[in-house]
Symmetry: C2
Subunit: 461 residues, 2 copies
Amino acid sequence: MLRSLRSAVLVPFVVLAAACASGTTDAATVDAAAKARCAQLAERALADNRAIAMLASLCDAAPKRLSGSPGSADAVAWGLRTMQELGLQNVRAEPCLVPHWERGVETATLVGDPAPLRITALGGSIGTAADGLEAEVVEVRSFEQLQALGDAARGKIVFFNRPMPRALRAVGQAYGEAVPQRSNGAIEAGKVGAVAALVRSMTTAIDEHPHTGAMHYDANVPPVPAAAIATLDAERLGKALQNGPVRVRLTLGCRQHADVEGANVVGELPGSVTPERIVVVGGHLDAWDLGRGAHDDGAGCVHALEAVRLLQACGIRPRCTIRVVLFANEENGLRGAKAYAEAHRDELQNHVGALESDSGGFAPTGIMTSLRDDAAAALKQRLLPLQDLGAGTFLPGAGGCGADIGPLHAAGVPCYGLVVASQRYFNFHHTAVDDLAAVDERELALGCAVVAFVLSVIADA
Amino acid sequence: MLRSLRSAVLVPFVVLAAACASGTTDAATVDAAAKARCAQLAERALADNRAIAMLASLCDAAPKRLSGSPGSADAVAWGLRTMQELGLQNVRAEPCLVPHWERGVETATLVGDPAPLRITALGGSIGTAADGLEAEVVEVRSFEQLQALGDAARGKIVFFNRPMPRALRAVGQAYGEAVPQRSNGAIEAGKVGAVAALVRSMTTAIDEHPHTGAMHYDANVPPVPAAAIATLDAERLGKALQNGPVRVRLTLGCRQHADVEGANVVGELPGSVTPERIVVVGGHLDAWDLGRGAHDDGAGCVHALEAVRLLQACGIRPRCTIRVVLFANEENGLRGAKAYAEAHRDELQNHVGALESDSGGFAPTGIMTSLRDDAAAALKQRLLPLQDLGAGTFLPGAGGCGADIGPLHAAGVPCYGLVVASQRYFNFHHTAVDDLAAVDERELALGCAVVAFVLSVIADA
């Protein structure tokens, strides 16, 4: 598409651009200064193109940064260094204890079939014996179905093969429907005397990537090893089961160690009028260890850091202090989130807002907020300039705007979350391909501009 | 991100999903049946997931389908076969003459540097002599700058190195600002007696892919060969020029042949009430030959075809006939567009609308239309359910909704264009990487649902 300007036929994109230039928002109701500020931030974000370089720098400096791992210290060092370079004040690491789980070897085969099954241990799983385990597989699509099997599952590997329902446009809702088999599958398998849990990966794509993620045990149920299997191999295993009994050999070398010290990384852009009043903005610094966590949640960390750089670069000085917090251990414990709320308990009444980005570095489409009613209506009005960036979606009354700011929300702090175009998210989530190549530099930069604009609004309200 | 449902902290995506489920549109003003129809189409599109398979089928059947090339006949055959399989009526090829330009060999080197420059001939360019040409390079960023050089450019290769301005959020506007050096650079180079034009590729990305595209000659100016250079190598060449004179050796084997017969591919879903009244929906079947044209415009063809399948699958029978047209030769001549308008001149008064998708298979964000004033306001109201699909952008008064439907627009037919999230478009546009891997199956499917819904609205109005 896109004909040259010389053509007699008009260019769709140019028309679209003209529509944007003349404003897709209602000029009569939008503050002109805010509109100009929003445009300035977006232009600066795109022109400087610093966000993708910052993300590359994180991925290079701390490619493996799961909480408690040796690489997690590299991530903390990167966070401190980057905040210093951005000229933030009061830069520090605020320590907290975090879990230390180690992945180790992970292999699985269908007995009698030389092609390996592509699996990965779920985070927190125990390992198998060193030489693995081998057992017959029983396939289920719900916990009810498993319970109905009763003794028939004893001594078996339970294969949880419920797909994420692809018909749902809201991919998070689809995830929510299927993810209990990942988070609680090992418990349910343990209850019926099974020897392991094998869980279909959390994605609607049919591909070769196993997706890790958090899982739990119950102190009253014998723990069994748990792994995720790539959807292509889940399909293959499901087909094999249609032809009769199938045995799988599974070896997991994962181990849980004693807790170790981790840290939230914190730095501030002091408020110009009321520096004692604080707006928190952040993402989580830890990431699952298969990829380099570019979307989850390197992008969220960059959204926060680059937003603060943009405010400074554009000469915007919010009245309240903007405090960037790169949280520890979102993926498997939320220890950083809890530690921040605990350490800052005495100043939470001065927290006027908290914003998190933890849905990936995709094109921003809007903002969700815990605010309701009149407060939400006033905010919606102030955020109208975001329509010019394609980010006009406004979702008030959100119960959770981000896991890391959950404890702040519980303490009454108004919360905000960046909403992004998420259809592609589960192509990458918790896999080896959540890496830099999966993030588009322009989409990431626009997200930073949206965060910066929202910060300028809520820190001046 | 995305904590398990078992966690005490709420899940952002689930919250978002809940917000969608309860409706982000104003229930009081949206027709409930239309809302349900829109949801049904989206669910069906995502659940069936046929769009990506259809696109794969096109890319496999006709990987090279530039107008006039041998592969273009394969594309026509694919279009006819696919329409038959979808149960369309009156399926036929409507012939038209199209240009036949052949690429041939293409190489360039910086004299004295063994690493080749990654270049590609612009579509329509003449070739060099068989053993190429070698000349000193002169760099400019505007036609004015070139004209000011005057005789200093005589006998040289003119290197047009104006970047697409990355600060513009509207990528089509950025394209529009830089693309005259591609479309008209050879003419301007010829005017000053230069021997060739080398044009920085049309993208804000700095990468290794040269972007081809249409260019023109002027009968009154001596033609010179013209090629695009990858932005990485444009940067390299620009740097080399800072250190003194640089010579480039350029060989292009491209040739223009006599016109050959091509065809628009046409098929219909007959209207249930007024079958003589017609809504055209389409994209262009031709594609530049470097990649397989997955985004440009395989996606547009699939948007149209799958939309019509969805309407049938969901039992939606529009009152007017939906006529799918896969246009020939959008990229380098618009012959198909002109031939359709000419061949159907006598029934244009029965064309109640024409919709084109030619901006790629990205997530749909809305609709543009040539309608204005009251007609636009009425349409906007009827399209409100698209907000539930994240496609609530409404751009009235658009001068051009698609190059192929330009002649219909000129004849007074109301026009519509699918608007998509376009930040990534120029990573792929007219390059070798505009291939299947660049298209996300869920984003493509949602685009089909949006087109289907819009068709159901305008064919029932």
